[in-house]
Assembly symmetry: C2
Homo-oligomer: 232 residues x 2
DNA sequence: CCGGGTTTTCGCCTAACAAGCGAAAACGGG
DNA sequence: CCCGTTTTCGCTTGTTAGGCGAAAACCCGG
């Protein structure tokens, strides 16, 4: 018999850095420290429904472009007092929205977290690592970007999330070849210092999908060109 | 307030197919159906400690070469009666052991599961998918293989786990290039019908490690040859 | 309206890796 | 000692990531 809570590390790229949504605890334990949004699992909801419901108190749910389970945190003494088992989530918000936040809530760069409550910093690290990994072999970028964007802004998003500078040329090429990116046809107005107007792109699909080229030892499949189809 | 249980899909390649450890329920609910090993989370243990403890009743724990969290299953009605939230695990057993099993326990091919209890079949599917994915971009094969093996037997393991025939040549090449495989120097005795004796190999590391070549958009790093290190 | 500065986009090239194929190597058995 | 069998290795090909620089397309000031 244990209390079950759900917690989410909601990430967004803001002003060039990857940030996480935290709220400051008004009561003990860990009063004054920053913790992840979430709360107790209700009796008639599964964990994903629950975290979406609880996040609605912090941000508009419709602005959450992606939610996925991260892991269970269950060390016996992870919170003082009663035993609490937590299911942690990764949530993503696109860069073109700026949700109104409650008083006690604010964004913090994941690279410089404030004093955080309990084991919540470990959860944030895990969320960041998951995001970084999935940017490489999925179309998860759609959850960070707006509906339409230029390659330059997409480059800034990837650079901020990954923690290192990414080549815009290569980014466009790789995502295009994988069939994840498509041009809208129109262009964005050039910046104040001029320059060629950038073409607008969008992600072909806005749901998570994995690119399988990372799957090796593949069998020759009928849909792929089938480099040659004979097996011992 | 909900009961928390831990469940594990323990997989092993046996007689050429991927199989999962199940036990047959002697009591209602779902009497007679097959379910995953596991049980209630104890008050002083985290979920991984708990699943390892509970699996010890089924198989010798030292034979478990890999254990990882899969996901939380928490649909309100997933088991009748009291609310039960489950943390599901993937467990792997190398092919060269054959644990003694309790009466009610047996291996079943994941491709042809018997009538299984509750949502346990969904957990098994998820475990299978996770294994298949990780075989491609990690050294997880070490958990399926024995300490030493020939390329042919490794090929059979990968073929069984992935569900399609794998080229032995390519398997050895890819794993070697990634620095995961090394020859022991000795050879295995040839089969009854003769043939060149096969060289024995082992995995360099027996803990899980990810091969990053699947990470794209990488920065030029000092350790890698650094094709050329200049950035705009 | 023409040229300089700026930003984006595209083409060409290279490197790395997966993958297929066939020849050679290394055994046992008649 | 030749033959069938199994393994291993080298050669080659196709695909993808990645780097570099030129051309394209805009603004603005003279």
């Amino acid at each position: 018999m244990a209390v079950h809570e759900v917690l989410a590390a909601v990430l967004q790229v803001r002003s060039g850095s990857l940030q996480v949504l935290l709220w400051q605890r008004a009561l003990d334990p860990d009063k004054g420290r920053w913790s992840l949004p979430g709360g107790r699992l209700g009796p008639a909801e599964d964990v994903e429904t629950s975290i979406r419901r609880q996040l609605a108190e912090k941000v508009d749910v419709r602005q959450l472009t992606h939610v996925e389970q991260l892991a269970v945190f269950s060390a016996p003494g992870r919170v003082p007092g009663e035993r609490v088992v937590a299911t942690a989530f990764l949530g993503l918000v696109p860069c073109d929205v700026d949700p109104v936040l409650p008083e006690d809530t604010a964004w913090h760069p994941v690279a410089a977290l404030p004093e955080s409550a309990f084991d919540h910093d470990a959860i944030v690290q895990k969320a960041r690592d998951r995001l970084r990994a999935k940017l490489s072999y999925t179309n998860l970028g759609f959850a960070l970007a707006g509906r339409e964007f230029t390659v330059s802004t997409l480059r800034e998003l990837y650079s901020a999330a990954l923690g290192y500078r990414v080549s815009a040329t290569n980014l466009q090429r790789v995502l295009s070849r994988r069939g994840l990116l498509e041009p809208t046809g129109s262009t964005a107005p050039p910046g104040p210092s001029g320059g060629r107007p950038a073409a607008l792109f969008r992600f072909v699909a806005r749901g998570l999908q994995v690119t399988d080229p990372f799957a090796v030892f593949r069998p020759p499949s009928p849909d792929r060109p089938a480099r040659s189809a004979r097996w011992p």
